[in-house]
Assembly symmetry: C2
Homo-oligomer: 156 residues x 2
Amino acid sequence: MNLDKIDLSILRLMQENARISNVDMAKELEMAPSAVLERVKKLEQRKVITQYTTKIDPAAIDMSLLAFISMKTSNTVGCTTTADELSKIKEVQEVHIIAGEDCYLVKVRTRDSASLMALMRDEFSKISNILSVRTTIVLETVKEDQQLIIPEINTK
Amino acid sequence: MNLDKIDLSILRLMQENARISNVDMAKELEMAPSAVLERVKKLEQRKVITQYTTKIDPAAIDMSLLAFISMKTSNTVGCTTTADELSKIKEVQEVHIIAGEDCYLVKVRTRDSASLMALMRDEFSKISNILSVRTTIVLETVKEDQQLIIPEINTK
DNA sequence: TTAAATTATGAATATTATTCTTTTAATAAC
DNA sequence: GTTATTAAAAGAATAATATTCATAATTTAA
């Protein structure tokens, strides 16, 4: 898995705009479109690119409530069954195992606080080993993206 | 901003795969490609669709360290200057204003803990009004996406 | 240095995007 | 209810892009 300068440039262009055409990328990179296409396919095969996705304004589809939930569980270290169960829930966008006192940090998006309440009642309650939860409601999101900083040259 | 059944279906398809072709969407929706294209353009114009982006495996480009930082600031409620300054930092993926004791929840991605340290020393220190920070390191991410649940029919 | 493997090019073809006119459908006014 | 008005969809034509593949160039390693 060694990415060269060109691969990184492709990733940079596609991260910014997943719908950029091969022709446009080829122009930018001063290469033939076919060569670019081959590299993109390899990046997909090697799972460097995991998905092409569309960012949607949550308010436009009325899914504006965001919350972070810290959890303590009775799991032994390294056991991710609780995390796996959480991951299956559609409203759960992120599940992280964290260092420190709590065990999991979970990001959840629902329509409103009533839906969050329902989610906790109907879904979280069924999940085993949860000892305690602490829910933090987001009042306003100032920035939210997954954009990575892509290095100029591979550092590995 | 009223989205009908077809708009929501388009969003569902494009959220799953931003590079789906108009032709394929048209087949799926049993419509003419030109009609689908027009709707997509409108969704872009109305900023329902905010970006087409590519998900990249952070490990592949050696950007594996994820951390959440809780901050207290001396800002008055509603003043987002600190949040705006934080948002400008490339390593900062998310900035949320939260209810409760702390003020901000910030998600940061860097190469390693040394880079995080450098970021805090060089960038965060310059930002005004920060009273305290509490950094939580992510040991493992079990799930991470921005996928929204798109309703079948508009609820508004 | 040479052989093998990888990557890029360029041309041909297939597929898709895009535009525009016509038709249809939906909405509102009377 | 009928008709005017508007919005959306279809369909056809053209432009642009993706994709394939044979060949050439480059890189890698023996």
